[in-house]
């Protein structure tokens, strides 16, 4: 069925909404990556089975929705009964029958599956009342967890494609650009370039054709916001892209998705097909004379392809090597033609901006960083998951109020943002507002939105070494400063972590970093030394402990620590003996075990399996 006019779209919306709400109760099963890893699919399949078996009045399998990431991954698998918002956590297959019998049939709440507030010890029924959710403002993530993963009718029911109709019928391309400029939307991929300015430059470029590209190559380890959007609400990205294409006069677009996200590819392709069927993609969209089509391009597993010029090379079927920045991709991008490239989250914001107006959007957040930003809040924080907060929210609010503080009540050490291009911020920076410019000033960066919380068991030297190893591996090798410079930095970081470093090495590393920052070809090389620079800026003492005292205060760097059994605590359970791959631990059942220091390779497996805290790190 093709939708020809905005009126038809409005009628369809009414139908969809009626269908969407025809069951007085709905069950949402989160099928985001976190919940799936914990068995959500089994729970959902069981729910379908039980619903069919019970034949309840007014409740069919259609009332069950497999949604995208609901956000609170830590508590997964999540099952939400709407409209009450009853929020069941860590649901197992064996809970399913009771959910149907009690909550669906008798409207009773199953206390034991509710979330317990760790501060008050109280059970909270409605997820909207849980601090993790209550303090968020979801714009780009507005639909995720609320609608089925890949259903255009449900997207239309929640006002989907209304912004496209408004743009095509009531606005000129310039009006669209003006609205986006007014909104102050800055690129959510990390660099924070104003989207309106980018679009305006592309629209004015003489050369043709123009292209629109969506960067879904979320390569920063520790970030999964874009994945959640592409999988859970692919239509919002497609709608944003169509609007962008209309604004800049493009007729062809690409979504570049990273190799590791197969489900995102499947869902985007499904969504594109659905949009074609409804005539929202293809020739003469909504009976206008505007035509646009979009293709999914799968990445090949290269971090550097998140860089715009490398990404465009990759779409063209070539090796993803970046080129010098003075050639701007907005003028000479894909196939050397004018190209607008934004990331997934940026596009997902566009329909809301067109719908509610740029002014509405710019009123949220701070003056220079408007709107809200999605983060993946992970690491040693209690409530890990996917969140979206207004720009300007402080790190402390995010980590303590939403994130619930540090796991096992350990001390906070640092928060890492911006992936391998970003840095670590210490406790003294916790009250900084999160926006593009503040984070950059503090020596980190916003990045695409990975926010990794570290506790005192994380060694910053090890972390810097980790990021440098990652970058050495992923450097495309085209320019010398990045290829060779990062390799040398890595070698020096290894030496320090093994107790072979000197204070002169630190000076060398700082000088080398300056050179890499100044002379690398692309943004990834230029920002490559950041993980070292930010940790040396805030944690110099820890580097010095490795160099002068040959100690790793966090107990991580293997060459500087040893493991021993605490004879007071060891109950001789033999768990560590089984876990030790080096056969370095000996002892009999119910007798204190001992570690042979010569055989021990310090892998830490014994520490991980010991239930009595009897393994000491010295």
């Amino acid at each position: 069925m093709r939708i020809e006019t905005p009126q038809q779209l409005t009628r369809l919306r009414k139908d969809c909404l009626a269908r969407f709400n025809r069951h007085p109760q709905k069950i949402h099963v989160c099928c985001g990556p976190g919940c799936l890893a914990n068995g959500a699919q089994k729970v959902s399949d069981e729910l379908k089975k039980v619903i069919k078996k019970k034949r309840l009045k007014g409740f069919s399998v259609d009332a069950l929705k497999e949604t995208g990431c609901h956000g609170f991954c830590e508590q997964g698998p999540l099952v939400v009964v709407e409209p009450a918002g009853t929020f069941y956590t860590r649901v197992k297959v064996k809970d399913v029958e009771e959910i149907i019998d009690k909550t669906i049939r008798r409207k009773e709440v199953l206390e034991r599956l509710l979330f317990t507030d760790p501060q008050t010890g109280e059970k909270i029924e409605n997820y909207r009342d849980i601090p993790f959710y209550a303090r968020q403002q979801r714009i780009a993530l507005r639909n995720i967890g609320q609608i089925s993963q890949c259903d255009i009718d449900e997207y239309i029911a929640v006002d989907g494609y209304q912004a496209l109709a408004k743009a095509l019928k009531k606005m000129s391309p310039q009006d669209v650009i003006d609205e986006v400029t007014t909104s102050g939307l800055r690129g959510r991929g990390g660099a924070g370039f104003p989207a309106g300015r980018k679009w305006s430059t592309c629209a004015r470029a003489d050369d043709s054709p123009h292209y629109v590209i969506c960067n879904g190559d979320e390569g920063d380890p520790g970030a999964f916001m874009d994945r959640a959007i592409m999988e859970g609400d692919p239509h919002s990205v497609i709608e944003g892209m169509i609007i962008a294409a209309y604004a800049v006069g493009a007729h062809e677009g690409y979504i570049y998705v990273r190799e590791e996200y197969p489900l995102a590819v499947v869902n985007l392709q499904k969504a594109i097909e659905q949009a074609h069927e409804y005539g929202l993609l293809g020739d003469g969209i909504l009976s206008s004379d505007f035509s646009f089509d979009v293709h999914v391009s799968r990445g090949g597993g290269a971090f550097v392809c998140g860089e715009s010029s490398a990404l465009m090379k990759s779409i063209a079927g070539e090796v993803g090597e970046p080129r010098a920045k003075y050639v701007r991709s907005v003028l000479k991008g894909l196939h050397d033609k004018p190209t607008v490239l934004n990331n997934v989250e940026s596009y997902a914001n566009v329909p809301v901006i067109i719908d509610k107006g740029g002014k509405w959007f710019s009123a949220i957040g701070t003056k220079k960083s408007t709107g809200a930003k999605a983060f993946s809040l992970v690491g040693k924080v209690r409530n890990t998951g996917l969140i979206e907060v207004p720009m300007g929210t402080t790190l402390r609010e995010i980590i303590y109020d939403i994130g619930g503080g540090i796991q096992n009540d350990r001390p906070f050490k640092a928060v890492q943002t911006g992936g391998p291009s970003g840095g670590c911020l210490p406790e003294s920076k916790l009250d900084l507002p999160v926006d593009f410019d503040t984070l950059t000033e503090a020596g980190s960066m916003m990045g695409s939105g990975g926010m990794i919380v570290l506790d005192d068991h994380t060694c910053v030297v090890d972390l810097a070494k980790y990021f440098l190893a990652f970058l050495v591996d992923e450097s495309c090798g085209k320019c010398v400063p990045c290829r060779e410079g990062l390799y040398q930095l890595y070698g020096l970081a290894v030496a320090i972590s093994e107790g072979r470093g000197t204070e002169a090495d630190l000076d060398k590393m700082e000088k080398l970093s300056d050179t890499i920052v100044i002379s690398s070809l692309c943004g990834l090389g230029k920002s490559g030394p950041n993980p070292f620079l930010s940790t040396i800026r805030y944690f110099r003492d820890e580097y010095l402990a490795h160099i002068r005292d040959k100690k790793c205060p966090a107990g991580v760097c293997r060459e500087l620590i040893r493991y021993e059994v605490d004879p007071q605590k060891c109950d001789g359970c033999m768990a560590c003996i089984t876990a030790c791959a080096q056969n370095a631990i000996t002892g009999k059942k119910k007798e204190v075990h001992t570690i042979d220091q010569d055989a021990c390779d310090k892998c830490g497996a014994c520490l991980a399996v010991c239930k009595r805290d009897a393994i000491l790190v010295l």
Binding site: G34, N38, F224, G300, G301, G317, K380
Partner: protein, 157 residues
């Protein structure tokens, strides 16, 4: 080694025969054979009108491609930042011990390939191990043995 290269024409049919299709075609070949056989690279160069040197360059640039046969099942240890700080290295070493291979290698019976991957995007469940496309979250040193055992029993996916 014999590979059913008869499947190639069908793969070429899926895309326009232009150099732009190179990566997509190689991805499909990789999926079909679990690696890129030399013969297939030569045929692809001819079909898409791309120099063989360039096909080779693309095949070795991207992590998704392998020039050596891989196992029926791919076990990928996520070593993304979150998994790293939650002990991914230990998990990697445990799996290496249980499978008796190092990361990047394939078992002699060609059943398993062990790989490390920079991030699978399931950070909230760190540390994560993916067996083909099934994710296992919150993996511990102790649960690695079970994971390998289960994967050995499981059907070919």
């Amino acid at each position: 080694m014999n590979h059913d290269l008869d499947k190639l024409p069908e793969i070429y049919e899926r895309y326009p025969r232009t150099p732009q299709s190179l990566i997509a075609v190689l991805q499909d070949i990789q999926k079909e054979f679990h690696f890129l056989p030399t013969e297939a690279l030569k045929r692809t160069a001819e079909e898409l009108n791309v120099p063989l040197s360039k096909v080779f360059s693309v095949s070795t640039f991207y992590n998704a491609f392998s020039l050596h046969p891989r196992g029926e099942k791919i076990i990928r240890v996520c070593v993304g930042t979150t998994c790293h700080i939650r002990g991914a290295k230990q998990i990697q070493e445990q799996l290496e011990n249980h499978l008796k291979i190092k990361a990047g290698e394939t078992t002699e019976d060609k059943k398993f390939t062990l790989e490390v991957v920079a991030c699978v995007g399931a950070c909230a469940m760190a540390p994560v191990v993916a067996v083909d496309e099934t994710y296992h979250g919150g993996v511990t040193v102790a649960s690695c043995r079970k994971l390998v055992k289960k994967s050995k029993k499981g059907k070919k996916s």
